[in-house]
Symmetry: C2
Subunit: 493 residues, 2 copies
């Protein structure tokens, strides 16, 4: 089985061949921590989480870097003319970093809820000022950046002569230039498309550092170039991020690395698509923007109720990462049902035991199971197509449910196929898709205890009690299952 990935650089699917197998270096643009993470952040993180998980499950030794942008737009608006505020000194003035830490903690909490694995290294932009200054100096030395009034800009026009500017996004520099108003004589920049590598800090600015060009702070794009090369080397395997970062952010990263290090930073560029609401892009400006915490709690006008983190994770995984996902309550409700079905399958799977007593092999059943197992791998190997993988998991689930109701039927499989069914279902659900049972084990012990009492009530024909327990189960969104194999229960689907 061969892994193919869609490379934005070439606009086609390519065979995945890492630079130094079995090592894979992957860099993904993380959040800017000045607000709580929203569904778009959740999607990007989950999409690259399953790529990280699948590469590891495929035997690669992956170093996954996801950065945190904690400097850029934070400013202090303190009225410096007011003596009382001045006296409170640094304790209040330094608030931006406390705000960043607060939202970073919030983001990490969300990631934990969504069962997103922590990346191998989670570097902060403010933690790599030295490295960013170092790379800026290299770019200046190569003659592709210039200082202007304490700031440093990248000279896009000069770089574009190499023909590389636009290679990722497909934009044509002449078109961009003709669409840009000329700021002749007004700004610090030589060309309208030039972007800042370093910005001079005004005196009110709190987040600033010493540099060869005076006190300032790094530009938007340089952090990712500096941190990716620090932890993965000047050339690495995968660079990922949301589609909205392709231009200008990733285009600028390529420019910085090509000038600074003489080569393209990444072999494969992967971009996840956006979340839409009723077909419209989800965004702050449109007011259709939902933070993850609100989705979990249900506290938002667009939400009919709260949806659990695993429901949201499943909702994200139902689409391949390059498709858009349309948010709706109906879609989330459907995801919740499907997620519960998958979890009920996990519970059922644990009760299934292969017995060599009732073997009546069915070549058709054996083929169904093995095709579905292959299909799980094939889906992921085809550019991480979780939608396809999930459809094959449901084929396995049909078999699991059949065998739970009628355990003798497992005899239609040979033992190897039976064991493969079990191990592939577990591997893909838990390890690769990262879907885990949200209900604590304690709870299931208690449910089993009640079910034991229920069985006795039934046996003793205490139908009032039987009804009482049934009603109670229903209120807890649990289902009692009367099967040939005995009485069991499952989560409502």
């Amino acid at each position: 089985m061969e892994l193919n990935v869609y490379n934005t650089l070439s606009r086609k699917k390519e065979k995945f061949e890492p630079l130094n197998p079995p090592f894979v270096g992957m860099y993904v643009c993380g959040p800017t921590v000045y607000g709580h993470g929203h569904l778009g952040h959740g999607r990007a993180a989950v999409n690259f989480d399953i790529i990280f998980r699948f590469l590891k499950a495929s035997g690669y030794k992956v170093r996954y870097i996801r950065n945190v942008t904690d400097v850029g737009h934070l400013e202090n608006d303190a009225d410096s003319g007011d003596d009382k505020i001045a006296k409170r000194a640094r304790l209040e003035q330094l608030e931006p970093m406390e705000v960043a830490q607060n939202y970073l903690n919030s983001y990490r909490d969300d990631m934990r809820s969504l069962n997103v694995l922590p990346p191998s290294i989670e570097p902060l932009a403010t933690g790599h000022i030295t490295e960013q200054i170092g790379l800026i100096n290299k770019i200046i030395d190569q003659g592709f950046a210039y200082e202007s009034q304490g700031s440093v800009y990248f000279d896009v026009e000069k770089y574009s002569k190499s023909g590389d500017y636009g290679k990722l996004s497909g934009r044509i520099i002449e078109d961009m230039l003709s669409n840009t108003r000329n700021l002749d004589g007004q700004g610090e920049k030589r060309g309208a498309l030039d972007f800042a590598l370093w910005k001079k800090a005004s005196s009110e600015h709190i987040m600033k550092w010493e540099s060869p060009w005076g006190e300032g702070f790094p530009g938007w794009h340089i952090e990712c170039s500096a941190m990716s090369q620090k932890y993965l080397g000047e050339r690495f395997d995968i660079h990922g991020g949301g589609l909205d970062l392709m231009f200008p952010h990733h285009e600028c990263e390529i420019a910085q690395s090509k000038v600074g290090n003489g080569q393209d930073p990444a072999k494969y560029w992967l971009h996840n698509n956006m979340v839409t609401v009723n077909g419209q892009k989800m965004g702050k400006s449109l007011g259709n923007f939902i933070i993850l915490k609100d989705i979990f709690s249900g506290n938002h006008s667009l939400l009919e109720k709260g949806y659990s983190p695993m429901t949201v994770r499943f909702f994200i995984l139902q689409a391949q990462y390059r498709s858009t996902i349309d948010f709706s309550n109906d879609a989330l409700k459907a995801s919740n049902k499907a997620y519960n079905r998958i979890m009920n399958g996990l519970m059922a799977l644990k009760t299934l035991i292969y017995s060599s007593e009732n073997v009546t092999l069915s070549q058709e059943a054996i083929k169904i199971v093995n095709d579905a197992c292959d299909g799980c791998y094939d889906g992921m190997n085809d550019d991480f197509n979780t939608a396809v993988t999930i459809s094959h998991l449901f084929n396995l689930l049909k078999k699991i449910n059949t065998y739970q109701i009628n355990p003798q039927l497992v005899g239609e499989l040979d033992e190897i196929s039976f064991n493969r069914l079990k191990s592939v279902y577990l591997l893909f659900v838990e390890e690769i898709l990262g879907l885990v049972n949200e209900n604590p084990a304690d709870k299931e012990i208690l449910i089993n205890a009640i079910l034991e009492l229920y069985s006795d009530f039934k046996l003793n024909k205490q139908y009032e009690k039987v009804d009482q327990v049934r009603a109670w189960f229903k209120s807890q969104k649990l289902v009692i299952k009367d099967m040939k194999s005995g009485i069991g229960w499952s989560y409502e689907e």
Copy 2:
């Protein structure tokens, strides 16, 4: 009520008067992330967590900085002569930062388990190279540090003429000098007590940065001075850490700040005491060292079983932070019982309702309740004496348990005292001591459902079933309580 804190600088308790009320700046030395956190790390974090919590509950606006030491002792032993390894390039060579991230994630997980609040800002040493270089430059400019073969050392002998070296730890420089072998002519240092502000990196060293003195990495002590002043200003209220950090680490911090900024960094220096095992200091070298994860799982030869995070938290809080704590299975078992009693009190409290129908005021009972409430505050106000506060909580608990069994008795209190009992118990248990119910709410719903069935069995004299449920409860470490007020349950104490 006035807060008094023991200041290591003055060796006595002092009235706590922050520099800029209501703001409080607190800096505490955090972990070095090259191993899993152990009980000593847990103790330090919990001790300063309750100080953070109590200051906030007292109305202060606290900025709490707890750093992460992620550079210092990590080296790469790669055999650079081997071509294959050289080819694997940076991906494997950069492992130290991945290791640091891994243990930092582990530490954060432990802190979450122990219900330690995240600090306001959690700065990394590697994230503040620029700031450390800046402070070193200031110290060189003042003539108290010198460069030697690419490293920079602090001149302790010169500084000691100010009379300040030893002011925190009480050490006398002449004694230290006479105990030190003279390394004349051998080392880079001028004086045997001089400490490194910056170390030249050897070519194998991976964690290194550009500096005015060539490639290197910061010394052990400078990070805390640089980061505390960055986020709290040159002078702030509280500096905390373990007693083992008093010398040389904190003594050196004072020296660096006094020379660099012309003043003592902190007004109050607080030090938590150590954990001992059978009276012996817990430490790696003695082999009596237990990591937090092992305590939770029970996977260690010194442990008879695992102890839950809240049991460990309670164990730590049973002693005042300046006393030693002796680790033993008996002590942890006792902590578990006591913690369960406190939690049962929380559950009981929620069922208590004041009724104006059966009021028969008892001045004695009113006094007991109000004295215990005052005692909770007094304990914390007396240098954060959690041991005293907990003893008063148990006095409140006695009353809560009495009222649960016999609800009519609440009438011995006036309504104000009754409400005070409830709010003080809740405030101190949950907010200030940070003790929370480890059992999920779901579980309690299920237990109540079973208890309902149990009540019916009892009513219908189905004694076999009654015994069955009783046995099952026992197996789950739950206790059925037959009380005047009805049938209830609690966690086994």
